[in-house]
Symmetry: C2
Subunit: 192 residues, 2 copies
């Protein structure tokens, strides 16, 4: 489990073996079951999480009880609620496992220390943040401008691998459309 992470760091961040060891050994491994929460509304996000295997979703619940999904995270990606983590204040969102998942986690003090000690990790981190912002900006634009059908096609294009792993109601909650509309779209596409 650690080794999958080390391979990831090696190929994506270009760190030295010694640096990678330092980062790995500061992590705690953890395994969670389907539907288990790693962050709950009202709590403070105390860890940075790397997903070795499995699938997580970040979602919020509004007044009428409906769930809306901000993000999916799958193998070899990171997840957290940045706002809550950065300022160590209560979050508005939840992070839960869609599938049984294997995680590595760092507390904020531990990771902050690593960032100071390892400039290349800091640089890699900034790059990840920039990517994540870019994606969220892109998604906001789609959310503003696309029809439900285009949103679905976009999703299929961007996350072909997630399609089979997610129940449709979660895809609908991610796209901001109703489950009914999503089934209608899929039905219409079969005819093509």
């Amino acid at each position: 489990m650690i080794s999958a992470f080390e391979t990831y760091l090696h190929t994506h961040a270009g760190l030295t073996g010694e640096e990678i060891n330092r980062i790995s050994s500061a992590a705690t491994a953890r395994s969670i079951r389907r539907n288990e929460l790693i962050l709950q509304e009202g709590q403070v996000c105390r860890h940075k999480t790397f997903l070795v295997s499995g699938l997580l979703r970040t979602y919020g619940i509004v007044a009428d009880g409906s769930e809306h999904i901000l993000q999916f995270a799958s193998e070899n990606t990171w997840t957290l609620d940045a706002e809550s983590y950065d300022h160590q204040k209560p979050t508005l969102f939840n992070i839960a496992a869609v599938e049984r998942s294997e995680l590595l986690q760092w507390t904020k003090p531990a990771f902050d220390r690593l960032l100071l000690e390892i400039p290349a990790l800091k640089a890699f981190s900034e790059q990840l943040i920039a990517n994540s912002n870019h994606r969220s900006r892109q998604r906001l634009f789609t959310s503003l401008s696309a029809t439900p059908e285009e949103k679905y096609e976009d999703f299929v294009r961007l996350f072909p691998d997630l399609l089979a792993r997610l129940p449709l109601h979660m895809i609908a909650a991610y796209l901001g459309i109703s489950l009914k509309t999503l089934t209608r779209i899929r039905h219409a596409q079969l005819k093509r």
Copy 2:
């Protein structure tokens, strides 16, 4: 015009006078008229821009010709297309003046040098990026979960000062609703 910027840096970034001078003197001042573009789809975003006065909007145009607004920037805020700026590649968006505006601009090489030379500026920069990400995540969530009426109320709450400065069709393009719906909402609220 420079002095308004220096006051801003002084109160928000906590830099020394010498650092502030260095930053100011690397900037180019520029004044633009209503509807003038400072970035156009297909171009590379070559500058980081600070808005001394006025109002800008960042928008994209989709296949059917409709305009969707990602962001407004007003006095004492920064604007650019980060994706295009970071990688110096063509942008998908446009940035145009809603009102006559006064800008300060830095080229990427110039600003990158400042970031290296002035660690406090780097830190301040990271903070601005984090804030902007947080806002865009928040907005994505609203866009997914709120009704048109809630979106409008949110906008009024967040940007009370912009309300009178923007034509309604731009507010609608920002909220992702039709102009007709926006007028309906406003009409309904008068009755309360």
